[in-house]
């Protein structure tokens, strides 16, 4: 536990931030691989990456629950390593979000990398830049807008997720009770004032973030493809 009993709003932001950082680290090499590979596995990997876009959150959540349960090998390993079950924990929520938001990180990045293309990378190689060096000094800066899109979408999508969270995390205050769950609970229990406060706060937050992004990037839009 990072903080003592964080409220739903803080928990949501923590979840979205952790998910985004983890996906940035995992999704960037994956997106690059998808852009440059000639492997026959590419369509398979692409399909797996896009799966969270089409599956109902309940299906995804169900399988994540199965994999994370302490009875499964993965869940068991986690319990042995951390002494805590992955299901109904914040860590489990992060893991589930990483899977669920994967396409929102990978697809904008892959499309940005594709736009950059081979040409500048060849130029960089001819100027003695190693592939890794060329990636960070040429491909990444030229894909800056793609990175921004990917980060914003991943963050926003994680903030807005509901079904998977409910399946994997349940509704434990301070651990897994994020805003979307809290709003649901408030509505269920007919506490509309609280529901309003949270919902309006979230809507305002999303609006501000997107406005700032758009004003920094005139003529460029935030969407998945």
């Amino acid at each position: 536990m990072i903080l003592h009993e964080p409220g739903p709003l803080l928990l949501t932001l923590l979840l979205a931030a952790s998910t985004t950082v983890i996906l940035l680290v995992l999704g960037t090499p994956l997106a690059w691989w998808l852009t440059v590979t000639r492997s026959r596995l590419k369509p398979v990997v692409e399909a797996v990456t896009a799966l969270p876009l089409v599956l109902p959150p309940t299906v995804l959540g169900f399988y994540l629950l199965v994999v994370m349960s302490p009875a499964s090998p993965v869940g068991k390993l986690w319990v042995e390593a951390t002494g805590e079950a992955l299901t109904f924990s914040f860590s489990g929520l992060v893991a589930a979000s990483v899977v669920y938001s994967l396409p929102f990180m990978v697809q904008p990045l892959a499309s940005a990398f594709k736009t950059v293309g081979r040409a500048p990378m060849e130029a960089a190689a001819s100027l003695r830049a190693s592939p890794l060096n060329a990636f960070f000094t040429v491909a990444v800066p030229l894909s800056a807008q793609g990175f921004l899109t990917a980060v914003v979408l991943t963050f926003a999508h994680t903030v807005g997720e509901f079904g998977v969270v409910l399946m994997v995390g349940g509704n434990i205050p301070g651990r897994t009770k994020v805003v979307s769950i809290a709003v649901y609970e408030h509505v269920e229990t007919l506490r509309y004032a609280e529901a309003h406060a949270l919902s309006a706060g979230l809507a305002l937050f999303a609006f501000c973030v997107l406005s700032i992004v758009y004003s920094f990037n005139r003529g460029f839009s935030v969407h998945v493809r």
């Binding site: 040409a119 960089a124 190689a125 001819s126 100027l127 003695r128 830049a129």
Partner: protein, 366 residues
């Protein structure tokens, strides 16, 4: 700089190109890689630079082996000392001109002799462009920056892949002087890809002719341009000679430049940038040369040179014959009909007059 040997032996088969090249290039000055489009010129450069991999073979520059399929050697592009200037310049648009140059500068061996930042910037006239965004440059400016950037990677070999093809004639004329100056000034052996003969005769000391993925000829520019057997291969390469000449003066009133060719006077449309006394090469296409037995009078052709027939090559399958003549040391070549050769009874050793149309001196190729 001593002449490095670029040893090429490679095979490759792509759906539309089968490349099989075995050649030892003695690299000094500018070598042109010439051939029709689709002949594999650019692919050959890319193979040398390590941007593509041949199926089999060996690529070495001097003692440095870059590729050897038998020994499993395949140096990645960034470890080969090749400066590559692309047709489309490929500047990094997220960097300024200075940033682009620094990208190369800080990654290359700064202790390599001969190439200093200041010298490169001055030679390519880039002082005023340094702080510009590369996106805001014109096509010609982009190519100048690209050339400077390649130089600052301090390569042992500079390769220019059709650097002029994306530019219009005006921009070409802007860039050409830089391309002429740079290899000599910095002493870097240069390979230059082009399918335009007029560019090559201005820039290159030797030519490698490529067609359908194979080397058709390799040798000094003047020699190759003269060779008859290359005609079908080179397509746009017209048979002719490259004659060394000297500018003897200008006639501004008639807009003519006077040229001394082996002690005889030639007049051509004025090229003001040529200095009196400057040595130039004239390209004289064989089909713009006629032959007369005596000095003609009342003829509009201004350039009449006394010459001696050296030999006559007759092609029995066509209507034409090639007549090779010498002045004192310079050679001239005429493409005549076999009919004319028979009627004038032309034979080797015969003194004749070569009639050259003034217009056949293309000012761009000087």
């Amino acid at each position: 700089m001593s002449a490095d040997v670029l040893s090429l032996r490679m095979q490759l088969s792509y759906p539309r190109l089968a490349l099989d090249v075995r050649e030892e290039l003695s690299l000094s000055g500018v070598t042109a890689l010439f051939g029709p489009s689709g002949s594999g010129k650019s692919t050959l450069l890319r193979l040398i630079a390590g941007l593509e991999t041949p199926r089999a073979g060996r690529i070495a520059l001097g003692a440095a082996v870059w590729f050897d399929s038998r020994r499993g050697v395949n140096a990645p592009a960034h470890l080969r000392s090749v400066g590559f200037m692309f047709q489309d310049s490929r500047l990094f648009d997220h960097l300024s001109v200075r940033g682009n140059l620094e990208f190369a500068d800080k990654r290359s061996a700064r202790d390599a002799p001969g190439i200093a930042w200041q010298d490169v910037v001055a030679t390519l006239d880039l002082e005023d462009l340094l702080e510009r965004r590369s996106r805001s440059l014109s096509g010609g400016e982009r190519q100048r920056v690209a050339l400077a950037r390649s130089l600052l990677s301090r390569p042992r070999l500079l390769m220019l892949d059709e650097p002029l093809s994306a530019l219009d004639d005006k921009r070409k004329a802007e860039i050409l002087p830089y391309l002429q100056r740079v290899p000599r000034h910095f002493g870097i052996p240069t390979i230059f890809v082009s399918h335009a003969l007029d560019e090559i005769v201005q820039l290159a000391g030797s030519i490698l002719v490529l067609a359908e993925g194979r080397v058709q000829a390799y040798g000094p520019t003047a020699e190759i341009v003269e060779r008859l057997d290359l005609q079908p291969v080179t397509g746009r390469l017209e048979a002719g000679v490259l004659a060394p000449a000297r500018v003897s003066g200008h006639d501004p009133r008639l807009a003519l430049t006077h040229v001394d060719l082996d002690g005889q006077l030639l007049k051509m449309p004025i090229v003001r940038r040529l200095a009196v006394g400057e040595k130039i090469r004239l390209r004289i296409p064989a089909r713009d040369v006629a032959v007369a037995l005596s000095k003609p009078r009342g003829v509009s052709i201004r350039n009449v040179l006394a010459a001696t027939i050296e030999r006559i090559a007759v092609d029995d399958d066509s209507a034409f014959a090639e007549v090779f003549m010498t002045l004192r040391s310079a050679r001239i070549r005429a493409r005549l009909t076999r009919d004319a050769v028979e009627e004038l009874r032309l034979t080797a050793g015969m003194p004749v007059f070569a009639l050259i149309k003034s217009v056949s001196f293309d000012r761009r190729i000087v």
